[in-house]
Symmetry: C2
């Protein structure tokens, strides 16, 4: 065996150098099974290090299983079974980070959020609630935040609930996952709006649910087809459907609830951006009409506040709440505790309401600019659909381009577009404008008309 | 029809009062199908409000589907189908919030985290990266954070990867969910350590995977039984198993990798708190030995930093990474963008390393105090197991109490205890001490000995 030398110039502690030396000898096969390592005393003298240093090195080798320590006999190499390190034959693909292109039109309006206030509140939380930061958060979401949300949805959306029914999570997808886990023994299929919000559909698929796409018309999902499907669970956005913008009128809402009641079914109401309507008040939530405990209400702050803050919530009816409470420790809280506390303060002190008033005006103005511009410059080339609310509208394009040509042209312009499936012949794309600055709009639309039609 | 009166004393805008009035009349049946609403002009005169006010009210009724607007004719009540609002027969249970008891021993050490630094970095992010906050984050996690994590795991855990292989998420459960979704077409069962980490098992269950519990001994999972199980996926913590604290020696690690290679199997290595070892260095990760792309590495900052910060990561081998990249837009990012950026800065500026050095000492001292105290005062009543690392140890109790008696006594003392199943006759509990202040320990242990044995 060659001489071990500890290198005084290396940053690595001596014991690690010794440990690494022997480990490599064992892996290389230079020290085979049963071979005895030099005694601690011997090595101490040979390489002029302290006894503790050698002991630490040997101890590490023992813990990792390279050698056995036999009392009063010494340290012996353990036999490693032959291990064929064959490398996988799969080609290594190089990836560019293009999947995360930052589009100019996504995101939220930059001028309307008061970062100064948010920062102040956040720092206050860090000072005042220091104790709370060292412990795991409430599984269900911080109770102060749940109280704020409860008050908020009652007031703005006509939702009926107590804070105890609210479950907070980092994003709608996370909450839908929790929900799937709660209902998985009863529900094996789910009806979804077509066209609709794919991110939700993906979650259901992942939980092995059969997806039943039901067409969406001007008045929302086709209830007759829903009834025929025989499923007992449906996911929809009755107050502002994505992407069509359709709104379900009250008679259809009542029919939905009747259906749910007759079939003991579950309606998942995703109320993602319905606070932003321009031509009328926000339409009260389906949940507020439900007296049988069939509606699960979903809401989020990503669209109305900051997309970088991942806080959403789900409101469970009593029966599912009982089930959730029994299994509560299965689901760890995913939303940041500090941000939950900050958001609660932001709401309690009236900043959210103020913010909503502000962005409604801001987005309405952007909306009008786009509609006016397009009607003036591209009326013969397209129709605008579903533009009376929300942060997006749809363009029905009169073009011979294929879907992928449209998308790729848009990507070149750094514009995020989604092609809507389910519109038969027509080419319909979703155009989000929330992230566009007012003064950018004309320029972007010019490019849009020039390159995409 | 009774006279509508708008109430000047109400905070509600007039148009909402008018809207609500008609809505209630329709719901109550006082205004039945086909009935015409007063004309806008008429109402304007009758109740002395502006034309716009009445128009807004009627418009809202139209949007919500209570009335139809027929051009040049007026507004007519829509027929609402009979809707029997029967209330669910389920009993309403009252819940106390006890599920979220804040135990004295959970959480992390309070004195060791430098809140001042964290706050400073966080506020810097809010100022410097303002632009980034208005857009959705990188699906996979912020790239600066992935780079910091990459450097960190290479240095501290011997993991081999690029930042492109790292996926960030809010907690191990969330990431395991993503993983299940990636492998769901190939994998229908998963082997888990028994006893083991239940939160992981729960996720697999939710994704309809068959759970195969495999016993854990001093040297980790029983590989022979794993082989017999015929599964192609296993979840384990080879460097510090929860709760037993067992460590898998190198020969078994190689055997695991051989098994994975021979069977094209997946090893999920959860390396949750293995940076905290007292008697030896942290044991290098299994992932670093893997040359065939069979190991998925999981790590988290909850235990080593702040549990209130929900940031974990998963390192995918190339094959799964390709699959993930193809489906990347299915999985929204769950971790707070601002906290991701803050954590990255915290790591880049060397604070994490400093913090780890500090907590290792702090926890080691707590650990020693407990071991010494228990050996002095309760040696005849219990044995201590698995106390050479991590933030917990196990007590094997010599008591006639039942498991539920033990747990309920502990709850009364505000101590979180977990009973370990799978130890045959012995009563073994996991005692976490991370959240206990040094000066509290003796008092808590006294109570523990007095009430729980």
């Amino acid at each position: 065996m060659e001489q071990i030398i500890v290198d005084y110039n290396l940053e690595e502690p001596f014991y690690i150098q010794i440990y690494s030396y022997f480990k490599n000898q064992i892996i290389n096969g230079n020290l085979s099974k049963g071979k005895k390592l030099p005694s601690i005393r011997r090595l101490t003298i040979d390489i002029k290090v302290s006894k503790t240093t050698v002991e630490s090195a040997y101890n590490q080798l023992v813990v990792e299983g390279y050698v056995n320590s036999i009392p009063k006999k010494g340290y012996f190499v353990v036999g490693l079974k032959d291990y064929d390190f064959h490398v996988s034959k799969d080609k290594i693909h190089s990836h560019h980070e293009g999947e995360n292109q930052e589009y100019i039109n996504n995101g939220v309006d930059k001028s309307s959020f008061d970062m100064r206030v948010w920062k102040k509140l956040y720092c206050n939380i860090l000072i005042e609630n220091q104790e709370a930061l060292f412990t795991v958060g409430d599984y269900q979401g911080e109770s102060v935040l749940r109280e704020s949300i409860c008050e908020f949805v009652q007031k703005t959306r006509g939702v009926k609930c107590t804070s105890n029914q609210i479950v907070v999570g980092a994003g709608i997808q996370y909450l839908l996952g929790t929900l799937c886990s709660l209902v998985k023994d009863d529900q094996h299929s789910v009806a979804v709006e077509y066209p609709g919000f794919n991110q939700a559909k993906n979650v259901f698929e992942d939980y092995h649910m059969e997806i039943l796409p039901i067409p969406v018309y001007k008045e929302g999902i086709d209830i007759d087809q829903l009834k025929k499907s025989k499923t007992k669970m449906v996911y929809l956005s009755p107050s502002h459907q994505y992407p069509t913008g359709s709104v379900m009128p009250i008679d259809k809402r009542l029919e939905m609830l009747s259906w749910a009641s007759d079939n003991e079914a579950i309606i998942i109401e995703d109320d993602y951006d319905c606070l932003i309507r321009y031509e009328s008040r926000p339409i009260p939530a389906l949940q507020g009409l439900d007296k049988g405990g069939h509606v699960i209400y979903l809401g989020s702050f990503s669209k109305i506040l900051l997309p970088s803050i991942r806080i959403s919530y789900m409101i469970l009816p009593q029966k599912l709440l009982d089930r959730y409470k029994r299994k509560i420790s299965r689901y760890s809280q995913s939303a940041s505790k500090i941000e939950q506390l900050t958001l609660s303060k932001f709401m309690k002190e009236g900043y959210l309401e103020k913010h909503l008033r502000k962005i409604k005006k801001v987005y309405h103005r952007k909306n009008e600019i786009i509609v006016n511009y397009m009607n003036k410059h591209a009326k013969d080339k397209m129709n605008i659909l579903g533009h009376d609310s929300g942060l997006h509208m749809m363009f029905e394009l009169k073009t011979n381009k294929t879907n992928s040509e449209i998308i790729s042209e848009a990507e070149k312009l750094n514009i995020y577009l989604e092609v809507v499936e389910g519109y038969n012949e027509a080419k319909v794309v979703v155009f989000t404008y929330s992230g566009l600055e007012e003064e950018e709009i004309q320029g972007v639309l010019q490019l849009f008309i020039k390159n995409i039609f």
